[in-house]
Symmetry: C2
DNA sequence: CGGGATCCGTTACGATACTG
DNA sequence: CAGTATCGTAACGGATCCCG
């Protein structure tokens, strides 16, 4: 893509990550190092041709890095650089705005708890409001249980329960998204028992997920493996 | 542009504002209502054909609005809707990241004080840290004087001086940008007199324009410099 | 002169097939 | 698994023209 050719920080950013698919590739890498095929699976419609173009361009510009045996094809892994990690505030503000443009999750088929968590919680965290020690959350969504640790820009998620969590939340997958979309009133839903929320850090939890997205003070990288999560949730 | 077709808030946002030029058009409208020709002048390389396409698309999606005599061609004005105004955090996080990808302003010809202000200050405001009454700033840049009022997402700017300003800043146009790029250490520059900063709300000013977007290369450097600066200013 | 519309060459993208 | 090669289509960029 041609450069905008303006001495403007927004244009400069778009020159680097403004092309089609680039930010979605970066979204995938924000979940941890990914291989070529992982990204392809996550982004149907993106041709291998174009993917390798984007990967090479982002690599040249220092946003991502290709790791693995130099010449050989197998075992190549792509990961965010420090500069790429600083893109997380952009992903967050985009997610915060974009969730209102998503349809009601009730219309989505095969809407799994994990999909709901990623949609509603993974990029909407105002993590600058997190207490230094983080928040341990125990989730029950459509009967499935998860442990979530909020201590950085991207939550850490695993299956299983946590009796000592700081916050316990029981909610349906669809309502979790509706809540972030502003489609349901939290106070009402709590009173009617449609949502169950308790624990010692409920206030902090609501603050973290309640404020408008804005650039964060200090982006930090939380490297985790989404593969482990996928394996467990299946 | 084809939709990404994912039930993901980031993809949904990019479906609306991810096309080429869209965010730069929105950047222009963030400075206030603009006419067709204003936008064309601000964005060389954008053909009228494509501009009207984008304007209509953004209008359909509720991000901007066309105001003016319904049928008549003259006097058409484009403006951000409420939804479009909520895109400002995205512009800000983009600007904070992108400024580090701009070259040193010393290499730019015809780099005016106004250009420096727009580059360095117009999209980097962490306005959630603003005191409710705002901050009145008096700027002297390369000998030219400006009054700037920070009381919302986009600063209000005029020529002239203000003896009763809350903050007074004297700096060169190039250094203003370098400061936001993390290329100069503020504490040093203040001590040497290269930058002059005074007034009753210096702390708030520095917080609003704080160093959250540290350069990717040496984040600790910028963090230390702001700490030293705060220590000095007390 | 402001606010577009039309036309057209070039580039970027999307889908499929193929390979080390 | 990690790409490469090919090719039809859609999007973009530039120029020109039109209309109030």
């Amino acid at each position: 893509m041609k450069s905008y050719g303006q001495y403007c920080p927004i244009a400069a950013a778009l020159d680097v990550i403004g092309e089609r698919w680039s930010l979605l590739i970066i979204r995938e890498l924000s979940f941890g190092p990914q291989r070529f095929t992982d990204i392809r699976r996550a982004l149907p419609g993106l041709s291998p041709n174009l993917l390798i173009d984007r990967l090479r361009l982002l690599d040249e510009q220092g946003v991502i890095e290709r790791r693995g045996d130099a010449g050989m094809s197998s075992r190549a892994v792509y990961t965010l650089t420090a500069s790429g990690t600083e893109l997380l505030p952009i992903l967050q503000s985009l997610a915060q705005w974009g969730i209102h443009h998503l349809p009601d999750p009730g219309e989505i088929l095969n809407f799994s708890p994990v999909a709901a968590i990623r949609t509603a919680l993974f990029n909407g965290v105002a993590y600058r409001f997190l207490p230094p020690e983080g928040i341990r959350v125990s989730l029950e969504i459509d009967g499935m249980r998860f442990r979530m640790l909020l201590n950085g820009p991207v939550p850490w998620l695993r299956g299983g329960s946590d009796e000592n969590a700081d916050v316990k939340l029981k909610i349906s997958a669809a309502d979790l998204v509706r809540w972030r979309q502003g489609r349901i009133l939290v106070g009402e839903a709590l009173q009617s028992g449609r949502i169950e929320l308790s624990g010692s850090k409920v206030e902090a939890f609501l603050e973290v997920f309640g404020f408008q997205a804005a650039p964060a003070k200090r982006p930090e990288l939380a490297i985790r493996s989404i593969a482990a999560l996928k394996a467990e949730s299946n």
